[in-house]
């Protein structure tokens, strides 16, 4: 069977790799070898170190808007004087406007999505107006906002000194730094007054204008980072480089670790702390990382890196075959949430090892312990005890059903059907875990879904389908050799993550079990450059990834992109990457903490 056909006349979409059971071949340009295909990181050496060059310099970047999550958290922090319940009600009442805000792309981290379109601009304005309207027309809400003037303050208090205090406070939260008299008087000016009289904040209209203007202000939505010390170049001229001032640094820290702006405590603390000095900054970073919000912030990185939310819905087809395949497991039955359990397990693994002293990258990839907190997931894993969510994990998998780290967990091998998808699994490891970059399938590729049969395992079907043709034996494998083997290694876990030695095949007509075939997980994996590494299963593959250090390098690259909001430069960022790699060798927490002390974080070169 060869369904890898080439028809130049048929131009197909480039989404081939993402489709289940889609076989891809190349025509014309292929992936070639690892280096020529650009698969090997150019700024790293063969021993797993990044190359720190003397010529390294700060790369320029452009002002960026807030990602959606950062904006939402900024709005909540702006209104943080309100009690939690009222704040929830206010946000819920503005839900229609909030939903207008586009979702950021996770393809290259949401922090890297700089797209700005009409929907963004409309939404920002509508959100600001609606929130301001809701707040300003409710005396109870206004009283909470006005509490900056004292606990018994109300809307009628917003005159004189209190109005000034109120304005200072909320403008500061907008500008994220202390504000000048001129800035305050400008934003407090009544637009209908010809004499520059201040807005009447005791009226709901005046308050609506004031609060709405702040929430829609460019300083609310954009982070400029151009108010620090100019260390080279000329102000406002491309290439000018600024050392961030302490307020800019603080804002950058909390957006990195909390996904939101600083709180009032930090603004107050920073008044007497110069965090441009490393030791003082370390104190603030420790405070930020010790806050529960840091877990949420770092979890965002892991989620976007590992793309756990992309786990397909289980059994969405509702086919008889899937019912047979998942018989007795209560998949999609009320009260059971297997898919959520699978995703949460990855979150738990990453969070546990990140915030546990000396938790390391190796633990993520090799941990032998079960993190199943529900009996549904534990049943899939064949373990009888549940992890309590806090203690040091000690529950091991049965010796006959071994697993290592995240690559062997259900969230990495499951999909929505009764059969596994080795290409997809392999592609995910290649792209996300090893930071490989394959060219997209050529446009003249004819793509056909591979048909399952009851005579061959899924692996065998894929091997045949991507074998190429007698006259062009490498046309498929020039790229697929970088993906297929990585997926074959996990074939001893079925598409629900259960360990198996046999693959069940279902009758395509009746959906009933037809036969069971031996699975084969032995494969020649390519983890590093063009080195072929024979592995017997996913545990050995995981070890190879750790030993090669390609996995660690990849995590460093991913976090660089997430934290510094741009793709690393092979020529300019080697020293930063190398520093981060050294810290990753220490511990995960040390690694995350160290990012804030890297040059790309402390400086900004403008374009």
């Amino acid at each position: 069977m060869n369904i890898c056909l080439l028809k130049k006349s048929k131009i197909r979409a480039l989404a081939a790799l993402a489709l289940a059971f889609v076989l891809v071949c190349t025509y014309g340009q292929g992936c070639g070898d690892f280096k020529s295909a650009g698969l090997q990181p150019q700024s790293s050496s063969s021993d797993g170190k990044f190359i720190c060059r003397a010529s390294d310099s700060i790369s320029a970047n452009t002002v960026r808007r807030l990602p959606r999550v950062h904006l939402l958290n900024s709005l909540k922090e702006f209104l943080s004087r309100m009690n939690t319940n009222d704040l929830s009600i206010v946000m819920a009442n503005a839900q229609a406007q909030l939903e207008q805000l586009p979702i950021d792309s996770m393809e290259r981290f949401t922090t890297n999505d700089t797209i700005l379109n009409q929907n963004h601009v409309d939404a920002i304005f509508e959100i600001a107006f609606e929130l301001a309207s809701i707040l300003a027309t409710n005396q109870g809400y206004v009283a909470q906002l006005a509490s900056i003037c004292g606990v018994d303050s109300s809307q009628s208090s917003l005159t004189g000194v209190c109005a000034k205090t109120f304005a200072d406070y909320y403008i500061k939260k907008t500008f994220k730094r202390p504000v000048t008299e001129l800035e305050v008087s400008s934003l407090l000016a009544d637009p209908s007054s010809t004499t520059q009289a201040p807005l009447n904040l005791t009226s709901s209209d005046g308050l609506t204008i004031f609060l709405g203007r702040l929430m829609a202000h460019p300083k609310f939505y954009y982070i400029f980072n151009n108010e620090g010390l100019l260390i080279s170049g000329s102000e406002g001229i491309s290439g000018a480089t600024y050392q961030l001032n302490k307020y800019e640094l603080l804002v950058k820290l909390t957006f990195l670790y909390w996904q939101g702006p600083p709180n009032d405590y930090l603004y107050e603390k920073i008044e007497s702390t110069d965090i441009t000095q490393q030791e003082q900054m370390r104190t603030i970073v420790k405070y930020i990382l010790d806050d529960p919000k840091a877990k949420m912030g770092i979890n965002t990185f892991y989620t976007e890196w590992l793309k756990t939310p992309s786990l397909p819905l289980l059994g969405a087809s509702g086919s008889t075959a899937y019912s047979e395949f998942s018989k007795g497991l209560n998949i999609n039955v009320q009260g059971h949430k297997h898919r959520t359990d699978m995703i949460e397990e990855i979150n738990d693994i990453t969070e546990y090892y990140t915030f546990t002293p000396n938790g390391r990258y190796e633990d993520l990839i090799m941990t032998p312990f079960s993190f199943a907190k529900t009996s549904d997931l534990a049943d899939l894993y064949g373990v009888s005890s549940l992890w309590d969510g806090n203690s040091e994990p000690t529950i091991r998998f049965p010796a006959s059903e071994p697993r290592a780290g995240i690559l062997t967990r259900a969230a990495f091998v499951a999909n929505g059907t009764e059969y596994t998808n080795p290409i997809h699994k392999g592609k995910r490891i290649r792209f996300d875990i090893l930071c490989g970059e394959l060219p997209p399938p050529p446009a003249n590729l004819d793509i056909k879904p591979a048909a399952q049969n009851t005579l061959n395992t899924t692996r065998e079907i894929i091997e045949v389908a991507t074998a190429g043709t007698p006259t062009s034996p490498n046309q498929c494998m020039s790229c697929h050799r970088f993906m297929n083997p990585l997926g074959f290694a996990t074939e001893n876990y079925d598409s629900l993550g259960r360990f198996r030695t046999l693959e069940n095949k279902f009758d395509p007509l009746t959906g009933l079990l037809k036969t069971s075939l031996n699975v084969n997980t032995h494969t020649d994996a390519i983890v590093k450059s063009n080195e072929v590494k024979p592995v017997n299963d996913a545990i050995e593959l995981s070890k190879a990834i750790v030993d090669s250090r390609v996995g660690q390098q990849c995590m460093v690259r991913k976090y660089f992109r997430y934290a510094f909001e741009r793709t690393e430069s092979n020529t300019n960022d080697g020293c930063t990457l190398d520093n981060m790699m050294i810290n990753l060798d220490g511990s995960l927490k040390q690694f995350f903490e160290s990012a804030a002390f890297q040059k790309p974080f402390l400086y900004r070169k403008v374009k």
Partner: protein, 544 residues
């Protein structure tokens, strides 16, 4: 309800000026919710009856036998000294997914919020009237009664109804055209108002002004009321200025300026859109002064010789959109509407159609064209006037409750299915008045324990006065307030308890001569045993 459903309205094919719930401001909703659960009342008067409104061939009420006592599924309630009444969930009365030809499947989304009641009697009336909401001195054949205010006016002038004193007195009476004014007999109005609202006990009763032009209504309220739109315009101008100011900073590098330039360009589009919203307030849109066909509808539907039948239906729905805007903006909460010949330029067509179309005594359609015109008229009343408004109110929600939930739309017929017979009236409501009424029910108040059937003279049931009293209480007007408005001379002793003139409105009986009212019930076998009945108490089954 989907947005598509909403925009299409109940009629499906005809698009009226839409009400856009997505545009409704939270400012308005916040103000509304803060107004201490203000309720809204919308009365709709339908005219003439004289068609198969109930019974085994019913085209309006649930299709049931003339006598439902042996029909399974009903909950009976035996009342001492009175007859047994019956209730059943409306959802159990669907046949082919609809209640009836007129109450078709398009009502199903709000069926659980409806009440359908059969068997309410105008005690003092025989013949044509405008008494649907208490303007009971209007029967052309009955003289000598005092004038009473219709219940929409009682509500509008009650501070128990309007929690905000600034709104006291606000009501909107919608009529088909400028001729529909004046109290009956002689006039055509179904709303009767206080000439001196500050003295309701002594005030003369007059006909209120009618509104028939949606644009004029819009301008009256929104042209004067403060709205959020000027604020929004001001804000977008300020925000744009702030972006330009930051863009002008000399610390900004060229690429940063390019990003802000892009934002400013997009924000200018936002500004343009906001300025173009000048006709939009809280999801509503200022109506045009012309019908879709191009005819001027400023004088109401009857004067629209140039208007198509579709134009007239669109006018009704457009008025509904304006009413929805008024309610959602907290500007007015008492409404009354009526319409007669909605599909004809002939003012009296409805009367001729009804009498020519159907002979109840023989259950015979005498003139198909006339009969169908009556059906069309009633379909428009129920689907375009009532359901369309109900759906619009139901599309606006906050904290799980919709404006329909806090409202009460009540459609009362002039007659039953026999010509000029002002009892055994069908009543259909939408909304629970803030949870006061137990909706989703069919309630049958008819007395099946007499020899009457629904051919010829039909059965009596419960006094309409009791329904009015219930509607007033559902709208938070207590008996102590509305009972005092009743005149001693117009109140039957059977319903006067310890000096309380219970119920609302005239409770004397129409007499056998058809021209006067008196103490003897029309049917001595029916109401003669009702002595001591408190007509301000809740009708059976109706209270939540």
């Amino acid at each position: 309800m989907t947005r598509r459903h909403f925009l299409q309205g109940a009629g499906g094919a005809i698009l009226s000026l839409p009400f856009l719930p997505s545009l409704i401001g939270n400012r308005a909703m916040a103000a509304l919710l803060a107004a201490n659960q203000q309720k809204s009342f919308i009365g709709v008067g339908a005219f003439h009856g004289l068609y198969r409104m109930h019974g085994p061939k019913s085209q309006l009420m649930p299709v049931l036998p003339d006598d439902i006592r042996s029909v399974a599924g009903f909950t009976p309630l035996s009342l001492p000294g009175k007859h047994t009444v019956y209730a059943r969930p409306l959802s159990q009365l669907l046949q082919n997914n609809q209640i009836s030809q007129i109450i078709n499947s398009s009502f199903n989304p709000v069926l659980s919020k409806m009440l359908m009641m059969q068997g309410l009697d105008f005690l003092s009336i025989y013949g044509h009237n405008g008494a649907q909401f208490g303007n009971q001195n209007t029967s052309g054949g009955v003289t000598g009664l005092s004038s009473t205010a219709s219940i929409d006016q009682v509500m509008a002038n009650s501070l128990n109804f309007y929690k905000n004193p600034a709104l006291k007195g606000r009501s909107l009476v919608v009529g088909p055209n400028k001729y529909e004014t004046g109290l009956r007999p002689g006039g055509y109005g179904i709303s009767s108002a206080y000439q001196t609202p500050s003295s309701p006990l002594t005030s003369a009763i007059v006909s209120p002004p009618l509104a028939y032009n949606p644009q004029a209504v819009w301008d009256k309220y929104f042209g004067q009321a403060p709205t959020t739109l000027p604020l929004k315009k001001t804000l977008v101008d300020l925000v744009l200025a702030d972006y330009k100011s930051v863009r002008g900073s000399r610390a900004l590098a060229s690429e940063d300026k390019r990003v802000l330039d892009q934002h400013i360009e997009l924000l200018q589009n936002t500004q343009l859109a906001v300025n173009n919203q000048s006709l939009q307030i809280n999801g509503g849109i200022r109506p045009p002064n012309k019908a879709p066909s191009g005819a001027d509808w400023g004088a109401g539907v009857y004067d629209l010789v140039a208007c198509t039948a579709a134009d007239r239906r669109i006018l009704i729905k457009t008025m509904n959109s304006v009413i929805t805007s008024l309610i959602s903006s907290g500007l007015c909460h008492s409404f009354l509407a009526s319409s007669e010949s909605l599909t004809s330029t002939d003012l009296g067509a409805w009367h001729a159609w009804a009498h020519a179309g159907y002979d109840n005594d023989k259950d015979l359609i005498a003139n198909v064209e006339s009969y169908n015109s009556v059906i069309t008229e009633n379909t428009i009343v129920m689907q375009d006037m009532c359901l369309d408004l109900a759906l619009k109110l139901d599309s606006i929600s906050s904290n799980g409750s919709t404006l329909l939930d806090s409202s009460l739309i009540t459609c009362i017929q002039e007659h039953s299915k026999r010509g000029h017979e002002a009892w055994n009236i069908p009543v259909i409501t939408f909304g629970s008045a803030g949870g006061t009424l137990k909706t989703g029910q069919y309630l049958d108040y008819r007395n099946f324990e007499t020899t009457r059937n629904d051919l010829g003279w039909t059965r009596f049931g419960f006094p309409m006065n009791q329904l009015w009293a219930n509607l007033l209480q559902a709208m938070d007007v207590p008996p102590g307030e509305f009972e005092a408005l009743g005149k001693v001379a117009d109140s039957h002793p059977s319903f006067t308890i310890n000096g309380r003139r219970t119920g609302y409105g005239v409770s004397l009986f129409w007499t056998a001569d058809g021209a006067s009212v008196g103490l003897v019930p029309v049917s001595s076998s029916h109401y003669s045993t009702w002595g001591g009945t408190d007509l301000s108490s809740w009708l059976p089954f109706i209270k939540a």
